[in-house]
Symmetry: C2
Subunit: 401 residues, 2 copies
């Protein structure tokens, strides 16, 4: 068949990930995998969802099973507006779009801003799924690094030299996937300054924001910008939220908060792309959020905190000198840096083959595939005992390198 020769040019950048293919093979019993990074299904408020679905399908089955508006279910948008106010971002329902998970928000934002060759600033490393979403729109990537000396001027000049315009900076400021690191308020303000200099948007991915285990909350980038402008509709930051890490990922409910001109255009994109997110799912998430978001969250945090502590302890105990790692205050991930010249890709092959152990090699998270001496561990789905055994195995695998 010759049809595949007629695929759009974007498909050249959308290949199956080697690593994802490798990790697919990990179903065999006995393997300890710290690769996944998904939430623990035992922590979902399953009874609350069962009750919510039963009530909704008894009380208003027509609405739950019928088409609905592209913007999203109004009571859920009202709940989110109230939730955002609690985060320092007072907003109305017209500033909110419901998406099918925050992954869909990233796809739509790539679609909204990127023509081929436009520049997206991303972390080095950054969330793999953001690169995947943006790749479909054939951008050029440059490095977002607020700690080093990469001025707006330098970034703009480099883009211009490549015939490109910087469209947005993407980041996950809290307990980022993959590093677990958090951007402090001073750096969030530096980001705002830089975006203003570049006149570009900021995409703030807050997937893990609610999962803080210690320390004080830092205001979202959008809250800091709102404090400057006093008007959400004048803000350049686009906040992407998700219920995936707090209530349920499988229902695919996330949201975007942004200036109305951005939301309006995103609504048109969503209408054209999938009409709307499923009605029942939005209604169920609304009911469960109303009934138990605030009371459920401490349970989730306590469980993951124990696992994070277990992994930090086990790393301290087992890692050889020369290996360093992050100490996240929340989220699901710890990021390891092996001695220069080590290959985490080779380590993974060895770990799977000989030690029944899996993780994700770090280079997958770099837009240029560099820094193969890094790796990501997730503690979200393992017991403390599994974590202890896993880190012992990791130490043994490291010895064989």
């Amino acid at each position: 068949m010759t049809i595949a020769q007629h695929f759009a040019t974007r498909t050249n950048r959308m290949k199956a990930s080697e690593i994802r293919e490798l990790l697919k093979l990990l179903d065999r019993p006995g393997i300890l995998s710290f690769a996944g990074g998904i939430p623990d299904a035992d922590l979902f408020p399953a009874e609350a969802f069962a009750k919510a679905c039963a009530e909704i399908l008894a009380e208003s089955p027509g609405a739950a099973l019928q088409y609905s508006v592209s913007e999203g279910y109004p009571p859920l948008r009202a709940w989110i507006a109230n939730h955002m106010t609690g985060l320092g971002i007072p907003c109305g329902p017209d500033n909110i779009l419901i998406t099918s998970g925050s992954q869909q928000a990233l796809d739509y934002l790539g679609k909204l801003f990127l023509s081929p060759g436009d520049t997206a600033l991303v972390g080095w490393p950054t969330y793999l799924g953001a690169l995947g979403a943006f790749n479909a729109y054939e951008p050029r990537y440059d490095r977002l690094d607020l700690t080093a000396n990469r001025s707006a001027e330098f970034i703009r000049a480099t883009a211009e030299a490549a015939g490109s315009t910087v469209k947005f900076a993407y980041l996950s400021p809290d307990f980022a996937n993959p590093t677990g690191e958090t951007l402090d308020a001073a750096h969030r303000n530096r980001l705002l300054d830089m975006a203003q200099d570049l006149d570009c948007a900021i995409i703030e991915d807050t997937a893990y924001q609610a999962l803080r285990y210690e320390g004080e909350d830092i205001p979202p980038v959008l809250a800091l910008e709102l404090a400057r402008t006093g008007n959400l509709d004048a803000c350049r930051t686009i906040y992407c939220g998700s219920f995936s890490k707090t209530l349920s990922p499988g229902l695919r409910v996330g949201w975007v908060v942004a200036a109305q001109p951005i939301i309006k255009q995103l609504v048109l994109l969503k209408q054209a792309a999938d009409l709307h997110s499923p009605s029942l799912n939005q209604m169920a998430v609304h009911r469960v959020a109303e009934s138990c978001f605030d009371t459920h969250l401490p349970t989730v945090r306590a469980a993951y905190r124990t696992r994070r502590d277990a992994m930090l302890d086990a790393l301290q105990q087992h890692m050889p000198p020369g290996v360093s790692w992050t100490r996240p205050q929340g989220g699901m991930f710890i990021w390891l840096t092996l001695p220069q010249g080590s290959s985490a890709t080779r380590l993974l092959a060895r770990a799977i083959e000989t030690f029944d152990l899996a993780f994700v090699p770090g280079r997958a998270f770099f837009a240029d595939g560099s820094q193969d001496n890094t790796l990501r561990l997730s503690f979200s789905c393992a017991t403390p005992a599994e974590i202890q055994t896993g880190m012992e195995r990791l130490a043994q695998a490291l010895k064989t390198l």
Copy 2:
């Protein structure tokens, strides 16, 4: 705010539809709207969905609320494979992708094939939502007309003259939205010949296929192609199916059946765009399809058939000479052609203002916005009495033109 100046070029083609905005105003009591084209919520198997959700959330809440694979829920894909076999398209689960409604399939297929300027062949008129989905990828449109003398050679030459390549032909062969018309087997075969000559794909949108009220089923285009090639993986036709018109639109579950190289690339696109369609929804649709798809369908067909008959009767009774209309054997729509020079857009304004009546002017369904003397009526959500009154009002409105 200046950010909106930085939107991608594609947003120039994604504007709010005037007509959609107009129709938003139709909530006022007393208005008779034949504009919508959505299924009747009273016909959804609500009890079966309530039972399915209750069982799923009791038996396997973890799976229902957790992330799942981008390809789709395996038992649902197996059910669909069996269903497709019944339609003359034997296939395996590897030929099937679950999408969030068939609208999402159209978005992904635009994304898969279209680089800016590529040609998409569409009906004149065609489904408005297909134009919306494809517009995001900035195609050139040309007319797919299998009844007139538009040879593959002519279409190719015209495209080449515009520096373009024909990537696919899109059509809804059964009871199409907006015309209600069905393509006979001879024309489906002509389409296959033309697509072969052009070496382009065929996108077969079967949203209404199951809603036949009289006459014999015609084999899907993909079934006819499979009969020629003997090998689904050598077929160029991409079949888009949906549960929206048979079970529920609000759950957003549809599917694509195609050659494996196409499905594989679509899976990558979906992974990057929204990870997967909601787990609970796929599981619920699977259970309900297993338990009552075949027994539920006759109820749905009987209800819509009565309404179609009522509308055809009322049109016959009330329409003045010079107005003609289609006589669909299924689906939800009847297409009216007014005398040359009439404007259905002006008629709509008059109908809303003076006669508490709404429909969709036909020009919205033409890629070039032409043929304003046409309009679409939907009979799916009106009672026979409402249809009778509505067509009387339409006749009165026509008199004022």
